[in-house]
Structure formats: structure tokens, C-alpha cells
Amino acid sequence: MHFVVCIKQVPDTNDVKIDPNTNTLMRDGVAAIINPFDMYAIEEAIRLKEKHGGKITALTMGPPQAEAALREAISMGVDEAILVSDRAFAGSDTYATSYTLAMALRKIGDATLVICGKQASDGDTAQVGPGMATHLDMAQVTYVRKVDELDENHIVAERLLESGYEVVESELPCMLTVVKEINEPRLPSLKGKMKARKAEITTWNAADIDADPEMLGLDGSPTKVVKIFTPERHADGEMLEGEPNEIVEQLVSKLKDVVLGVS
């Protein structure tokens, strides 16, 4: 069985601060990490391999620096890693990104199960996984909180919905996106770290994956960012002061109308 985990390197939002003067993101010294949701995807692939055997490949699209994310994945237990990187990918939206990753998966060829995090923490779209599955005409189970069964041809997984969860059976190959509830990602072992340092990372460019140049980057992206701005915040919040019962009295008078409207 060949498990392919798709990951993304993102800025660590723990580090992201807003410059109070310019109201822009201060990204100096912001660490690049593996998208937190992708950590669950990596962990799940490792657990499935431990149980069912096979091979795990980590796949990412990004700048040359994204190699660090792949090495971290290897240190956790991933076998092979592929970086898809090309200047032609600049400005890719979710459509172009899912196409690019799909072309890389096509080149990989024999993926039985593709596992992604439910979304990336920088864009929060949750569109790339399903988009990729569509480009490949692959079945999908999104928001998976547990894998119940896996055999040669089928997978049974629990999908988290707003109103509960649904147990879904899918044919393989299949694409899963996973939620935090599914597992607790392991820390890399010392042996894993040494392996990661020495590991050879395969790098593919646009030509290597046989991509249509018109489908890539800015040209291949139907959506265009036309403006970026910093949202307004409640800067003029009001502090309520006094004894607890006085505070509560003030608060009740502020909230009363809304509460009465709702109840």
C-alpha cells in the first residue's frame, strides 16, 4: 500500500504579531512549520503503515525552503519525500495548487490513499484536498476523525459533521482530509532525525510533472487577489469596573436587549 501525505509549510501563527503602528503582519523571525493539520495526516499515515505495511511518501509544493518540512516528516517516520517547486507556481490559487499537486500524484502513480490535513492554517480554505481528488477523479472522505478499517480495496472512516459523525465506506484509491481529533502526532525519534538529515529529497519542477504551463501559477488561477488590508478591530472597548455585583448590573443592561431578542 502506498500512502501519500500532502503537506504545506506555513508561518507559525504563534509567532505572527501585528505591528501596532502600521497594522501589518510582522513576519520577522517567524518560524516556518508544517501546517498543524498536516501533522495529523502524517501521524495517521505512519499508524496505518505500522498496521498494514507499505510505504509513505510526503509531497509538498513550495519554495526550496519547504524542504525543511519534508525532512521533519521523514524524522517522524515518512519514507520518501518529494518537493514540487518552480517559479512558475508563483501566485497559485487553490485551483492551480490542486492541479499542480494532482500532476505530481499522477507522476507518483500508485497512491492507494492520499491523506491531507483538513485545511492549511494560513489560507484556511479546505479546497485543495477535494480539488486535487477531482483533478484525479478520485473518491474522497473529508473531515475524518477516525479510520476504522482498511483493506486492499476499501476504507471505512468516520467523518465529522456539524451534527455528529458519519461512518463512510469508500473504494480505494481515495483521498482523506483529517481533523485534529484523529490522533496525537508523535515527536521525531533521534534515529528519525538522523535519517532525515541524510535523506535525499526528490525535487520536481513544472516540466518534470508534465504540467500544462497555462494551468500553473497566476495564469492558471481563476481567482486574483486585488487588495489586501488589515481588518478593523474593536479598539475602543469599554472596561466595566466596580464591585462584582455592580459590574454584572452594567453588563446585564448592555446585553439585555440582545439576549431578550434571542431567547
Binding site: T24, P63, R87, A90, T134, Y143, E162, K180, T223, I247
Partner: protein, 402 residues
């Protein structure tokens, strides 16, 4: 057109670093006295072009023309989300927003209703603003399945060519619309908080948060149709029901092959502690590590019950196993947009703020006066939530006669 989408003109750049500061993505660095754009990080948003006083950054003019005949695409569509015959409120929110867009464009507002035995719901959709309801009524569509639902939508889009398609940013909505958009070569923008029509281009301008709500981006789909967008719960206003409204209903027949699925539901397990789904709650009482012990959540549940709300939690409280994950608000949990959000003992990490900062009224109760939660609070209280909350519950009990 040059081979790069954006570049710094070396002879014009004086090294003032205005662009470095303006770049929301940290894609520009100074190399000696010259700005250098890292194209791997750049999203070509143009913020630096605006910031540069010396016209030293040039963005390639798009030579691409429309990928299809844009004028052939008419009407604003809303994908109806329903569960077992009950229309979800997100649908009414989409109809409310869709109505405005359709009126601005002088187009019809259409609802797409898919499911089994769903035709009786069409009148409700018309009363809520739809001019036309496309119905696909098949036993195979009894519950949401990614592939057949997507295939039916693709069939409808290819036949009727909508200009705009709106869908809820729910688990079902996101899974469905992503497949549809790729199949019909449409632009898709996730989690829009504001939508409007550009008066000149007539394009849909989509505003959405990125980086956990730290920045907002405006996004357009200039050369493709349909323009597709998902919208989060509680962000748009529901349309009012008007039973005197009239509209058209059209039953769309689909070929058998379209309904094939490689996945099937084995069973559905509803959430056990049948409490309010916080993504839909108008009021949320939320707790964090400041509550000190799991038992403290009982106090929050009590207040929530009295004022008709749900209970939320910070990641810290969930990680400590004080409350199940389904209650978690924030970047790795749920994004909520209630009328009132009461944060009790929550410090306000950026990831938490990302999930709740668009609430109408934010009440923060925290012992630490420097907690970041106070920066987004409408009303701040420096104090112990364990003291304040029971008093609040008692006061509202009196007012509501409970």
C-alpha cells in the same frame, strides 16, 4: 509580457523599504539597497505596487482574456443545504445575500435543491427570495454524498451557466463546492465575509480573512465563470419570509450514471450531548484555562442554558480534556460568529481570536488585565469569571423569569 508576474525595476528602486513593510506576506527583502521579491512566497497581490512612491515595482499586465464567453453566464445561484427535510439556516443567509447581488446585476436568484422527496421545500425557498428553484429529486440523493451531489451540480451548471454560485462554508458545502469548481473551471473563494458587485466590471468582489483573520483579502474572478464563493454561518443576514412571493420551479432530470458513488454511508451517529451547535449559536459562553478545573464548565453551561446559548472553549481547555473537541473555538476548532461571545478565563491567543473575533459583541472576563483578549473585547471585565458568571446567571434568570 515578461516571464515573471511582478518585478522590481533596479534603476528606479531607491531602497526606501516601503514595499517591505507593505507586503502582507513577507515576500520582499532588501539586498543591499535594492528590494528583492521572493516569487515563491509572493501572491502578486499588488500591495507593494501601491506602496512604492517611485513606480519601481511593475506588475505584468494580464494579456489573458476571458476563458469563456462571460456574457453567457446569468443568474445568482444558492446551493440549498437541508438535512432530512429541514432547510438549514445558512441557506436563508445565502438567499438574503444572493438577493442583493442578483438585484445589483439585474439577474434572477435561483436556489438549487438536491435530495430525496425535497419538492415540498421549494415554496419556502421562493418565500425567502428565490425567483426560481431547480430541483433534483432522487432517492440516491437521500443524504449528502460527495460524488453524486457534485456531479448533479456540475450537470446543472453546464446546462444553465450561472454567473455566481454561493454555498455555505460548512463541512458538506466545502467538500461539495471544491469538486464542482474544479470540474467546471470556476474560481472559488472560501469563507467570504463580504460580497459585492463592482459597479464597473460587474465582477463579484469577495472579501475574506486570511492568516487567522489578521489580514483581509479582496478577491476577484475576472476571466472565468461561474464565480463561486463559500460563506460562513452567521455572517450574512437571513432573508425574511414573504409567502406572497411567487417563483418558478423546475425539476431537473439527471442520467443514472451521474448518481454513481464510490463512497457510501454505513451509519450516521448524531452528537451525543445534544447541545447547541456552537457554529449556529447566537450566544456563546466560552471557557479557557483560567477556569482552573473542569467542573467550572458547569457554571458556563448554566449561564448558556439561561440565556439560550451554547458553550465554547479554548484549545487549552480542550487539550486538558475539560470539554470535548466539538466545543473548541479557534483556528484548529470552529469559527463562530455569534451576536454575543462571552470569553471566561480565556487569554486570547491569536489562534483563538481567529475563531471568534467577528462576533458582534465580545465580553471578556479575565483576571489578567494584560490578557490579549481585552484588545478585541467590546466589554472587558478584570476579575474572576467564577465569581462574575454565577451573578450574571442569577441576574438573567430574574429578567427572563426563569
Amino acid at each position: 509580457m515578461s516571464d515573471v508576474p511582478i518585478k522590481v525595476l533596479d534603476d528606479k528602486c531607491i531602497g526606501c523599504t516601503a514595499c517591505v513593510k507593505a507586503c502582507p506576506f513577507g515576500a520582499i527583502e532588501m539586498d543591499e539597497k535594492l528590494a528583492v521579491i521572493d516569487l515563491h512566497i509572493c501572491t502578486v497581490c499588488g500591495s507593494c505596487v501601491e506602496a512604492c512612491k517611485f513606480d519601481a515595482i511593475e506588475m505584468a499586465e494580464k494579456t489573458v482574456s476571458a476563458k469563456c464567453d462571460l456574457s453567457a453566464f446569468k443568474d445568482v445561484w444558492v446551493i440549498v443545504e437541508q438535512d432530512d427535510g429541514k432547510i438549514e439556516s445558512i441557506t436563508y443567509e445565502l438567499l438574503g445575500e444572493g438577493r442583493k447581488l442578483a438585484d445589483d446585476l439585474g439577474m434572477n436568484l435561483c436556489a438549487v435543491l438536491m435530495g430525496a422527496d425535497v419538492q415540498s421545500m421549494a415554496d419556502t425557498l421562493i418565500s425567502r427570495g428565490a425567483d426560481k428553484v431547480y430541483m433534483v429529486d432522487r432517492p440516491e440523493l437521500e443524504y449528502f454524498k460527495d460524488e453524486p451531489y457534485a456531479a448533479v451540480m456540475i450537470d446543472l451548471v453546464n446546462k444553465h451557466k450561472p454567473n455566481i454560485v454561493l454555498c455555505g462554508a460548512t463541512t458538506v458545502g466545502r467538500s461539495l463546492i471544491s469538486r464542482v469548481a474544479v470540474s467546471v473551471n470556476a474560481g472559488l473563494t472560501a469563507d467570504c465575509t463580504e460580497l459585492h458587485i463592482d459597479p464597473e466590471s460587474k465582477n463579484l468582489i469577495q472579501t475574506r480573512p486570511a492568516f487567522g483573520g489578521n489580514i483581509m483579502a479582496q478577491i476577484e474572478t475576472p476571466y472565468h465563470r461561474p464565480q463561486m464563493a463559500t460563506v460562513r454561518h452567521k455572517v450574512m443576514k437571513e432573508s425574511d419570509a414573504d409567502t406572497t412571493r411567487t417563483g418558478e420551479k423546475e425539476l431537473h432530470e439527471v442520467a443514472e450514471a451521474i448518481l454513481k458513488a464510490r463512497t457510501k454511508r454505513i451509519k450516521m451517529v448524531p452528537e451525543e450531548d445534544n447541545i447547541v451547535n456552537i457554529a449556529e449559536a447566537d450566544i456563546i459562553v466560552s471557557g479557557g484555562r483560567g477556569l482552573q478545573k473542569p467542573e467550572s464548565f458547569a457554571i458556563l453551561h448554566e449561564l448558556a442554558e439561561v440565556i439560550g446559548g451554547g458553550v465554547g472553549a479554548s484549545r487549552a481547555a480542550v487539550d486538558a480534556d475539560w470539554i470535548p473537541y466539538s466545543h473548541q473555538v479557534g483556528q484548529t476548532g470552529k469559527t463562530v460568529c455569534p451576536k454575543i461571545y462571552i470569553a471566561c478565563g480565556i487569554s486570547g491567543q491569536i489562534q483563538h481570536l481567529a475563531g471568534m473575533s467577528s462576533a458582534d459583541i465580545i465580553v471578556a472576563i479575565n483576571k489578567d488585565a494584560d490578557a490579549p483578549i481585552f484588545k478585541v473585547a467590546t466589554y472587558g471585565i478584570v476579575g474572576d469569571a467564577l465569581t462574575i458568571v454565577p451573578l450574571l446567571t442569577a441576574a438573567f434568570k430574574k429578567i427572563l423569569g426563569k
